[in-house]
Symmetry: C2
Subunit: 614 residues, 2 copies
Amino acid sequence: MCYKKAMFILLEPQKRKIPCAPELSLLAALQRRPNLAPPSLCGGEGSCGKCKIKILAGGVSEPSQAEQQLLTPTELVDGVRLACQTFPRETVTISLVEGNALSAEYKTRLALALDNAVVEPVSTKKYLQLTPPAIDDQVADLERIYHALKEQGLAVDDTAPGLLPALPRLVRSADWQLTATLRDRCLVDLEAGDSSGKHYGVAFDLGTTTMAAYLVDLATGRLLAQTARTNPQVTFGEDLMTRLDRAHQGDLATLQQTAVAGLNELLARLLADSGVQARHVQEATVVGNTCMQSLLLGIDPYYAGVAPFVPALQVVPELPAAWLGLQIAAEGRLHLPPLIAGFVGSDAVADLLTLDFDQPQPPHLLLDLGTNAEMALSVEGRVLACSAAAGPAFEGARISCGMRAAPGAIDRAVWDHDRLRCHTIDDQPARGIAGSGLISVAAVLQRAGLLNRRGGLRRRELPEGLQSPDGQGILLAAAEQTANGEPLVLTWKDLGEELVIARAAIRSGIEILLAEARLPWQELARISIAGAFGSFLDIDDALAIGLLPPLPAEQIGGVGNAAGLGAVKILLAAGQRRRARRLARQTSHVELSGYPGFNRVFARHMTLANKTRP
Amino acid sequence: MCYKKAMFILLEPQKRKIPCAPELSLLAALQRRPNLAPPSLCGGEGSCGKCKIKILAGGVSEPSQAEQQLLTPTELVDGVRLACQTFPRETVTISLVEGNALSAEYKTRLALALDNAVVEPVSTKKYLQLTPPAIDDQVADLERIYHALKEQGLAVDDTAPGLLPALPRLVRSADWQLTATLRDRCLVDLEAGDSSGKHYGVAFDLGTTTMAAYLVDLATGRLLAQTARTNPQVTFGEDLMTRLDRAHQGDLATLQQTAVAGLNELLARLLADSGVQARHVQEATVVGNTCMQSLLLGIDPYYAGVAPFVPALQVVPELPAAWLGLQIAAEGRLHLPPLIAGFVGSDAVADLLTLDFDQPQPPHLLLDLGTNAEMALSVEGRVLACSAAAGPAFEGARISCGMRAAPGAIDRAVWDHDRLRCHTIDDQPARGIAGSGLISVAAVLQRAGLLNRRGGLRRRELPEGLQSPDGQGILLAAAEQTANGEPLVLTWKDLGEELVIARAAIRSGIEILLAEARLPWQELARISIAGAFGSFLDIDDALAIGLLPPLPAEQIGGVGNAAGLGAVKILLAAGQRRRARRLARQTSHVELSGYPGFNRVFARHMTLANKTRP
C-alpha cells in the first residue's frame, strides 16, 4: 500500500497547523502560508543561516553540514535548526526564533510629519434625503439618487455594478435616507443613514525589507494610526534580486499573495487600532520600488532587472482593490504612483514629491540607500535620477554578521579610550551589525588611521582587543555581550570588499549625476537621505569614509520616511497624484550601466578614503 | 444510525446525474441545475400540468390527486408524471417529455433583416509592430504600446489590470508584434501576432419565454450566426409575475444563474456554428423587459412589479461581462440599453429604435404583445408609451389547453364547410393552442355570428361537432388528431373570460395612448406588431375581435423581431446606444394604473366585438 499519513507542522505559540511532507523542507512548507515563514537571505540554499526555527517536539532529519557550520553548538543542543535544511519525519511542533520585529526606535524615527497636506480626496461622501416615489413620480431608484446628487452639485453618470443587486431593498429599508460615495462621477457605495463623516484611506510603503502603513481620515487629512512590519516576502530571500529570481522561476503567485497578505495584516491592525470599519476605507495607495510593485501586481519583474532594464509599465492603471484582494471597501480603489525606471520606483517618486523636486530650489541631492540605491538631483528645474547597485551590505546581507536595523543590531560605534564601543538598537545584546553600524565602524578605523586608501586595514597596527581571537577580523562584541554567547566579528572581507563596493557604487552614482548636470559638488545646497537608513546613519561617519561628497555636515540630513509621507500625500489629494505623474515623466533617468566611462568612475571610488578626486 | 444513502436523478438521453432527496420533488431537484428542468406555469404548485417527465426506472411516490386530474390514464400508464408532484424513493432514471423546442417556423419568422446597419463598434483592434527596447530606449512595455497606438492615431490612457501580469512575457514571446484591443481609450486585450480581423459581438434578446442570440462581425457588421432557445427560467413559472414572486421569496440568485446559463449556452452554440473563439467576442448587448433585465442583474424585480411600479434603475451601467459570468472575452463588456418604466423595458426601447421612433414620421403605433403588452405611439415628434397587463392568455397560460408557439400548437383556425379547421405549427399533431390560434378561433366564431357582444357564445346556435362532447367548450381537435390522444377543448371560460380580459387590456391601452396624444384612431398611419406573436397573428382575425382599432388591414403588419434587431444595431454602433438612451429619456410613460377613468375604458372594451365605440 502506498498510503501516506498526513503530516503537519504545529507552530507555537501561533497555534497554526501547516501540512508538510518528508520531501519538503520546513521552510518550503512554511512558505506556503503567508506571514508564517522565517526570513531567508539566500532563498533556501543553506548559506545565509537566517531561517532559524526551534524544534519543540517531533522527529526531523539530522543537522546538515551547512547547519553545523552556521549554528552554534549551543543552538544545536537547544533544538535550533535552519528551516531550509530540516525535513520532517513525522508531525513536528516548532517555534520561530525571535529577532525580526521592528524596533520601537525605528518606528519612532519614521513617524510622519503630516502637516499642511492638501486634502482633496478622489472620492466624496454625501448624505441624501430622497423623496420617496409615488404613482405620479416613477423615477427609478438609481436615477432618484443621481438627481439628488445633482441638486447638491455633484455630477454622476455611472454606478459600480456591485451596488445594483442590493439597491431596491437598501433604499427602502433606509427609508430613502442614504449616504452615497462618489469617485470619478461614479457611484461606488451606498449606505443606509448618514455615514458621510466616515471616509478613510490607507497608504502603504512597501519596502523590500519593511512594510509600513498609515490610516488617514480623508475628510480632515488627520493621521489616525500607523504601523509597520517586516515584509513577509523576506522568507523568499531578503534581497531583491533573490526574490526576482524566485518570481521568474515560478513563485510569482506566491510572492504576490505574500505581499497582499502582509498589506492586509497591516490594514487589520490599523482598523483594530482606530475602530474604523474596512468598508469605510475607500482609497489606498502603495509606493515601492519597481520590483516590489511588480511582485504586488503579479508581474514578473525579471525583465526590469536584466539589461536593458525595461519595466512592464510606468504609469499603473487605477486598480480595484478587490482585484488585488486588498480588504478595504468592496469598490475601494488602489492607486500606485508611476515609477521612473527599472530600479527607480514609485517610492523614489514619492520621495521627490515630499522634497518638492518639482519646485525651483537650490541644487539638492536625494539619496535613498539600500541594496539598490536611488539618487536624484534637482538642478535649475531639471531632475535627474539614477540607481546604483550598492549590493545588500547596508541591509545586512553578504556581511558575515550583517542584519537589518532591528533590536540588537549594532547601529553605530565610537572609538573611546582605545576601545571600540558599539551601540545596539533598543540596547539589546548584540546580534549583528546594521548598515549604519558598518559605516560607523569603518569610520572609526579610518579616523584612527587604521585603514589604507583601498580600505585595507593596517592590520599590524591594530590595537589589542580590536582584532578577533581567531584573527579573521574586527571584534565587535565579545561573547558575553552578544545574544547567542558567541563573539561578533566583522571580517576583513566585510570591510575591504563588501563595504568598499557599496561605497563605490553610491559615490559613482552621485558623481555621474553631478557630471550629467554639469554641477560641481561644491554647489550642492543640500543632501537629503531618505528612509530608515538615513535616519540611523551618522553623517560624520558617512563623510569619514567618503560615502558622500565632502559638504559641511549641516547641509546633509535624514528626511525620515519621505516615501511614506509622499504616499499619504498622494492618498489625500488628486492634485498630488497629478504632481507625481508629472514628476515621473519629467525626471531624466541616467542609466549607469550604459554610462560611458562608468567602470573608470567606479574603480576610482573603490576606497574608504574621504578625499576622493571627484 | 442516521446515514443517508446518496440518491440521484439520472436524466436520459442527456446522461446527467443530479443529486436528489426523498423530501424534494423531482422538479425542485432538477431546478438546481440550470437548463435541465421542465417548464412550469404554476411554479411547482401542481396546477398547470406542464412539468411532465417520464419515469424510466426506479421507485417514486404514488400519483397525487393533481396528477390524476391533469394527466391522462394513458400518460399515467406510460410512466408520465408531473415533476413537481413526484418524490423519489431511490435513484430514478427519467426523461423529459418533448414539446418545448422552438419551431423551425418560429425561427425563420424571426430572422433579422440586418441591412445597412451602422458599423461603429465601441471597441477597436489594431495590429502593432513595436520597436524592441534597448539600453538607450528603456520605455516601459506598456508605454511602448501606448506610443505605437498614438502613432496610429489612437489615444489610450488606461489598461485593464487583468492584462498586466502577462504583459512582459507576452510582448517578448510575440517578438513585439501584437494586436491591441481598445475600448474607451482603455487597452482591454493584447494578443500575439495579427488578430485585428477577429473582432466579434453577441446580441441577446432575453424574452420571458424565448431567448434569441445573434453573433455579429464587428468589423463588417455581418451576421454570422443566430440561435434561440426557451428561456430556462420557465421552470420557475412561465409567466413573469410567478418568477417575480419566486425571486422576491428567495430564488433570485437561482433565477439569475439560470438566465446567465441560458445565455452562455446560446453563446456556445453560436461559437460552435461560426468557429469564432470566445476571447474574440468583446462586446455583448442584452435587451429584455424590466423584470427579465432585473433577474439577469440579480436585482429583485418586486418593486417594479407592485405600485408605484418603480424600477431599480433606468440607465444600466456598462457591465464587465466577467461580473455577470458571461463567457466572452475576459475584459469583454455587456451593454444593456435603458428601460422606460417598470413594465416598458429595454426590449421596447430596441423596438422603438428599429422603427425609428426618434425620427419624424406619420402617426405610428407599436404593439409588443405578451403577458405584458407594451405599446408606444409616435405622434408629431412625441413618443408615448404604456404597458397593459394583458394576462398570460396569449402566451398559453390560464388557457385550459394553452401553450406557446411551439410545434403542435394551433396557431390559426378557419371556418370551412361548417367545420372548424385548425392549423398547427410545423403540422404536428395538436398539443394545445397558441395566442394567435385563440384569437383566430374567436374570430371564426365572431364572423359566424356565434358570439354575442360580451364574447359570450350563443351556445344554443352552435353547429354540431363544434361543441365538445362533455359540453365544456369548443372542440378544437378530436382525440385522433391530438398528440396525447385526448380531445382538445377550448372552454367557455377561456373565450369569455381570459381572452376578453386580454383583449380589453390591450385595446384600453391603445385608446388611452391615443387619447393622451389627442389623436383619433383614424389618423394612425401604421400599426406595427413586434415579436413572435406579431409574426403569427392573422391581422384580419385580430381586427375581427376588435383587438386593434379598425384600420385597413394593409396599414397593420408584423415587424418580426424588432427588439432583436435593435439589440444588434446597438451592439454594432456607439451612436445607436446614444440614440437608445435619448429615446428612453424622451419617451413619456403613461401609467395606466394611475390613469383617470381607466376602469371605465377597460369595462367598455370587455367584449370581442369589432365595432367598439372608441
